[in-house]
Symmetry: D2
Subunit: 381 residues, 4 copies
Amino acid sequence: MRRYLHLLIPAVLAWVGGTQLGAHDRARTPIRIPDLPQYLTLKCDFHTHTVFSDGKVWPDIRAEEAWREGLDAIAITDHIEHQPHKNDLPTAHNRSYQIARAHGDALRLIIIPGSEITRSMPPGHLNAIFLRDASKLDVPDWRDAVAEARRQGAFIFWNHPGWRAQQPDGRARWYAEHDELLAGDRLHGIEVVNEREYYPEAHAWCLEKNLTMLSNSDIHNPIGLDYDLHAGDRRPVTLVFARERTPEAIREALFARRTAVLAAGRLIGREEFLRPIFERSIRLLTPEVRIRGTGSAYLQIQNDSDITYVIQPDPGDSDLAFPSEIRLPAGRVALIQVRSRKNDLQTTREVQLTGQVTNLLVRPATPMTVTLPFRAVLSPQ
Amino acid sequence: MRRYLHLLIPAVLAWVGGTQLGAHDRARTPIRIPDLPQYLTLKCDFHTHTVFSDGKVWPDIRAEEAWREGLDAIAITDHIEHQPHKNDLPTAHNRSYQIARAHGDALRLIIIPGSEITRSMPPGHLNAIFLRDASKLDVPDWRDAVAEARRQGAFIFWNHPGWRAQQPDGRARWYAEHDELLAGDRLHGIEVVNEREYYPEAHAWCLEKNLTMLSNSDIHNPIGLDYDLHAGDRRPVTLVFARERTPEAIREALFARRTAVLAAGRLIGREEFLRPIFERSIRLLTPEVRIRGTGSAYLQIQNDSDITYVIQPDPGDSDLAFPSEIRLPAGRVALIQVRSRKNDLQTTREVQLTGQVTNLLVRPATPMTVTLPFRAVLSPQ
Amino acid sequence: MRRYLHLLIPAVLAWVGGTQLGAHDRARTPIRIPDLPQYLTLKCDFHTHTVFSDGKVWPDIRAEEAWREGLDAIAITDHIEHQPHKNDLPTAHNRSYQIARAHGDALRLIIIPGSEITRSMPPGHLNAIFLRDASKLDVPDWRDAVAEARRQGAFIFWNHPGWRAQQPDGRARWYAEHDELLAGDRLHGIEVVNEREYYPEAHAWCLEKNLTMLSNSDIHNPIGLDYDLHAGDRRPVTLVFARERTPEAIREALFARRTAVLAAGRLIGREEFLRPIFERSIRLLTPEVRIRGTGSAYLQIQNDSDITYVIQPDPGDSDLAFPSEIRLPAGRVALIQVRSRKNDLQTTREVQLTGQVTNLLVRPATPMTVTLPFRAVLSPQ
Amino acid sequence: MRRYLHLLIPAVLAWVGGTQLGAHDRARTPIRIPDLPQYLTLKCDFHTHTVFSDGKVWPDIRAEEAWREGLDAIAITDHIEHQPHKNDLPTAHNRSYQIARAHGDALRLIIIPGSEITRSMPPGHLNAIFLRDASKLDVPDWRDAVAEARRQGAFIFWNHPGWRAQQPDGRARWYAEHDELLAGDRLHGIEVVNEREYYPEAHAWCLEKNLTMLSNSDIHNPIGLDYDLHAGDRRPVTLVFARERTPEAIREALFARRTAVLAAGRLIGREEFLRPIFERSIRLLTPEVRIRGTGSAYLQIQNDSDITYVIQPDPGDSDLAFPSEIRLPAGRVALIQVRSRKNDLQTTREVQLTGQVTNLLVRPATPMTVTLPFRAVLSPQ
């Protein structure tokens, strides 16, 4: 259906005076993910670039894009060492933040100052955010740069640990330098997702070493050149579970490791965060179903979130059969057929439909298990 | 249908090594407008901005966007006088062209050097394209700037003559200064469309004074922030009827006034260009229809272009009735019902279905008239 | 952007066993319109056809379509007199309701029995819903049919009063027969919208004569052949303000005239219903804006409904300027720029932004006036 | 981007006379697959149902849907034995064809008469098309039904051989009954794809036993309830390589096994058909690329078909590197980066980029190999 949309074309254009040809809404599309019982769920991207390093947009565009996409906060993290535009645009490490910040203030989007310390592996690239003066990180030795960032109170995380430019096989590797950073309180988190890559090793390290999980876009282009936003193809974001919608609250939550990864329709993180998000996303509209004989009935589950949950249910029991896959599409009501295997039952029972949500990972390759309880009233044909 | 698209979600993410999450095609979508018998139809945008004046993107992005959207050529026309970024990015009038040109060469997109001479009205803003050295236009007196542009061989056109910042009522006005420019061979064309505005006065002047019609985006933002490209909401372009796909051929065609305006689904221009575009866009798949009694039959017309044509047909005659509106959707086959008004006809006749294409303007408020001939075989019930 | 979506294509198809190629969600997309303080807002379509008269689908499809589109109730209203399929499918006036009802019960969608009394004008076509036995309406005289419907307790309304097959100029006309019906308690409402037609005369009559406003699809085809559902092109519905989600509550609300018309993005009805819908749809996210000098600030308004509101604001005053049009897009947050006209103000004031919502009609050609209050803190540059 | 489309809302609705609210194009979207050198490529669906067996639409709807989707021909194949609507709609085996045929004639869509002989496995369900009188197949013994079909000259094929209702593990199995059918000239083809299922065993049998490959929708619902047509989610079709666009030519091609399977973006069939389709779909726009040093250049390939080709290239050689995956999106121009691995080359060479098209299967699990030749001009930095 190539041309599903035809713009409605009004009659012949007027004879005098400027005529408006179409229009485009400048608007924000909220990302619907439930808050947790005690925290707001903020959608953040802590890794973005502008023309002030090797990015392709003026810094205010980063704020405009993020506001429209429904984000709450972004960090501007231009490279310290990689300055390919510097012959045209002289290096000024704090300027991209300042410019983005002004537009962020106008839009009420939080802008966080940061820098990408851009070194060969190990230790690779590190983002330092909540900096006070990024220019002081422009020093020869990476240890000095990291120490300065920490001196300024920065939250520091390791970027794209399995990036193929540094790890040709795509596998993240932990080096002695990372032990050193960790021991010195200079490494607080790791990108489990960068752009369109997921690093299962980083996922495991965050759990083992008690680090914060990050998920960032590392966007250089205008966002629309890299993501089909209109079709639901969104940049990865870090969900931050914060006490309020302020930079300080985000900083507190990051150091307290209260984050999750939302990328390409998957939610990755600690079960304590994922479970309430799932449970607060969905509503069973049919607490009771009635089945006669070997017939069937429909459960209806409304999913008010922007995440489509995909569940592989356990096969049921000798009496009731469930579908082999249950999809709970974002923003819609799913229909789930429950069939009775026996003709002669006469009973009312509390059923626990359990299954694995394949796009909710509580550890690498480990989906979260959920239970959907309902009541079945079974009667003979 | 809010969530018409769900991304297909594969099974649980792998345990080791980077995993790719989705993808995005870097591809060009051709704009399908027929060539003329003796000319190629090139799609061009002669008015774009970058961070080197008040635009928001690095210049190579202008080439990337235009290539993806199916354009053949763009001009980079940063402001000479308006340099709001100059404290961060020192003025360098030729640099945005040079940077865009390198990427255009890689993509085989034509990049034309230009500048916007940015003055109060009159004479307002003027674009000079095909410049050799834009920095020489950075002079106090606009007459000197224009003279220098002409000395370099530039094609010069008047931008957005009804722009509300300069004409609060949206009406374009012709001043003595424009007579002066015209007399001195310093004004060769006018923007009939700029961004989302159509100026009927400019349209009339182009016909009266024999000037070239332009239609340009004047884009400052990343294009995706201003146009819903995925939904067919495209930037305005100037169609250039050129002997070949080269900068020189575009220049020749511009001076020879072989252009048309394509904006928001309307095509505006001289009939000698619009008629062959229309005729080469469509194919009658049913040269003959057969109707019995007061029944009806369907004409099928395939439109292979990207323009949806909207026709208000003349009402037919005492024997045959046509619909009150005929839409020929872009890239599709339309179904047009022809009804017989009489029960007892027994004849074969050549029918001329004539009408006005309301979105093809040959002069202000004047749609082009077209004829769709077919054969009707009529017989009694 | 013709091909904005490419289906993700997995690697080479497996060698053994059936392989699933893609999938399609069977799901419901809720229509988000706020409830009123004391009533639920139910979305209903009281005019649909099936193969049992001149429709094109088996009756259960009407239930399936309506459930997926987020409706709460439909009436099945096959023609009594017009039975073009009867040689294949013998007339059985109650069967389409029975078949649709069984599927509606499985989906928890309310199905209402009805019939279309299909006569020439006057009185034209009348729908009788909440019938007990439709076959008793199959009588020669329309007065007898209507009387029988009323005897069964039916709610009766006049369909498409300006239908061009009966009124070639598209104008609705009131005949003596309608006075007779009204006087005899045999006419309770009128379709203000049928399919894609709006009848302003009917709109006025509903207000003058205190009749119920209806808005129905009169769908004959599978719905997807007539509406681009995925692009937000939805069938018209009657909003019913009911005490609960039951057939009885719908019947009560219809007789009590608690309805509104929702069609093609317009909401038409009595102000007592439209005002709370508008007010409960939107949230001002920025109760206070701060402007320095002749600068500007943004109001942000979130619209949680599925109706895009289009407001033409009053022009502001000598101090503050508003945009010439304010669009509040459905499900998104709009950005509204407020500019100060004076440089030297030092004041905090409560501002009333008033305007007309052009797609909310409280009477023909009369949009509803709304006020958006906010606080402006103005200070010199 | 939930609300990517807002319908443009005109100003306040008019005061008098019916007002049109939006519109919907009744149009056909051609499926762009190249013709072969000596044959037309017709898109056909030989397995559809209507209300005359267990389908859900009046038969003319099958013609309307298929015409709009760009098909050339469909067969109406209602079940002989399975008549769940017969109490309402008395069995009449030829009527669905007759009704669909009348509408197909009006639209110039070919309608082929057929029936589904609906038996338990073995032999399972068989479609017989090009029947003269379907009612004669309504006999107790399936052998008699098949014999009668053959007597009428029918083309007979085995439907969904791995259908889970008959093969719970989804695997197709060949029984003695199928040997019997084959030996008796009563089995000419097999559905390799039915609805959303692909049967690799059937694919292999077609090659081994020289049978015709079929790919059909087996549609029962209105098509829009099962396929997201607007998003490119199309019904499976059998490509028929025919001498002309007539029923007779389709019949000849079917018996001559000149078909291929197009389903969910995959093309499955004999290499003699797939290779010219691929080669006639694409055009290399850049026969020559120039690379300096270890730089790169772009190949541009235009794909004028509606199939997105996905190629896994061989890795290149010691001098030139190719991407790990090449996607040629339908209707667009792909950009393919070629990198030089060596700095000091000075040569012009003819390069053969070879790879496997993973969505073109010439036998089960065997993609077609293709070569994209181009010229590389390499020079030192």
